[in-house]
Symmetry: C2
Subunit: 227 residues, 2 copies
Amino acid sequence: MATRTRTKTHRTERRTDALSRERIIAAAIEILDAGGENALTVRALAAHLATGSGAIYWHVADKGELLAAATDAVIARVMGEIVSGAKPREAIRAVALGVFDAIDVHPWVGAQLFREPWRPAMLEIIESVGGRLQALGVPEAAQFDSASAVVHYILGVAGQNAANARSHTPDTDRSAFLASVAAQWAALDPARYPFVRQMAAQLRDHDDRAQFLAGVDLILAGIETVR
Amino acid sequence: MATRTRTKTHRTERRTDALSRERIIAAAIEILDAGGENALTVRALAAHLATGSGAIYWHVADKGELLAAATDAVIARVMGEIVSGAKPREAIRAVALGVFDAIDVHPWVGAQLFREPWRPAMLEIIESVGGRLQALGVPEAAQFDSASAVVHYILGVAGQNAANARSHTPDTDRSAFLASVAAQWAALDPARYPFVRQMAAQLRDHDDRAQFLAGVDLILAGIETVR
DNA sequence: AGTTGACTGGAACATCGTTCCATTCTATTG
DNA sequence: CAATAGAATGGAACGATGTTCCAGTCAACT
């Protein structure tokens, strides 16, 4: 009802830059990438497309549907780039890294992936990981739990990254942000937080991406012990 | 500036049910538990406390601070209940389950934990997990990555649970919701989603809590391979 | 008694998502 | 070819939200 119903006859475009669900989603992605989640308002979108809000709501039901569609589009693009011929273990790492990098570029994807799982984007990830686990020889009884563990871990890092990206508006002061958190950690009460204090030094100059991959390897190692 | 500055002299309460940061946070938790995240509006909170919004903003800076404080309160309570004498492995499982159960009862905690990490609540979790990993004999070089993996996994499940709780308003139709997702999964194209299709049957009647714990064990097993 | 300042309550503001509707334009019909 | 139906548009308007502002209140101190 909210989508365009093209009856049977050919239909020429009303104007050269006619609105369409695809154009709206593309514009939404642009705005989200440029200014983050808060920047995507219906008014900003309408201005960006030189139209009114009513026109947008004719093509899209919700703002939620818009965010979901934008997320699906980004994740589908990432998943399409995974080479299917690679060895299972490498493929899983590639999928995980693909999602990680996608969220690094589009932090809002992390938040959305988190807000509404059970959607096409998540399905792609589960299928991609789960299929490779089967190829790895994980016994059937452990496949569900194993895939769930990997996906939930990816999801957890996704959210963390999205939150971090929200904390430091551009991306230049990322190291400054990390240093600030590290300083806070280092200043904690040694009696109450001995571990966190010890980690403060490592936190300052650790590589998110490498640590993420280390976690994936850790889980894969754990899965292999079940075999 | 936004918090009450109590100079040096003693100060008797203005009225028996005087407002205070603690009372406001407690009321916020009540509203959140009763109606979910959307139910917590400043107006609803003011009505619940029989006051105006201005009075609330005198004690609390933001709605964000309110949510963060409520989350910290819930998590701190959970962490306080962990028996410190247990064996490290059991203690980690207890911490994980504590967080899981807390989010099961207060789904909004999951969303908030996700939205703003690097807060007291998260510190408690990291410290609690990390300290036990040290006790487990995890080599120092692997401690940071290992703790990060466990915490991110917990975080991922937390968000998932919160999202699920948002999908089915009460808690009775949880099985109906799972059945619905399972049906969707079963109806997928077998060529494109063979793995997800196979998991559909298990999804219908799996135990979230048991699966969560299985994931924790999986990661712990992986961590032990590094030792 | 008067003054100070912590504290309150509610009106008011800006912004958001969403709905509604008069209007435009194209493709079809008579 | 004129008329009509309906897809598509643009913007005004509505209700709700977070937040700010401010005139007032009350208790403790001078």
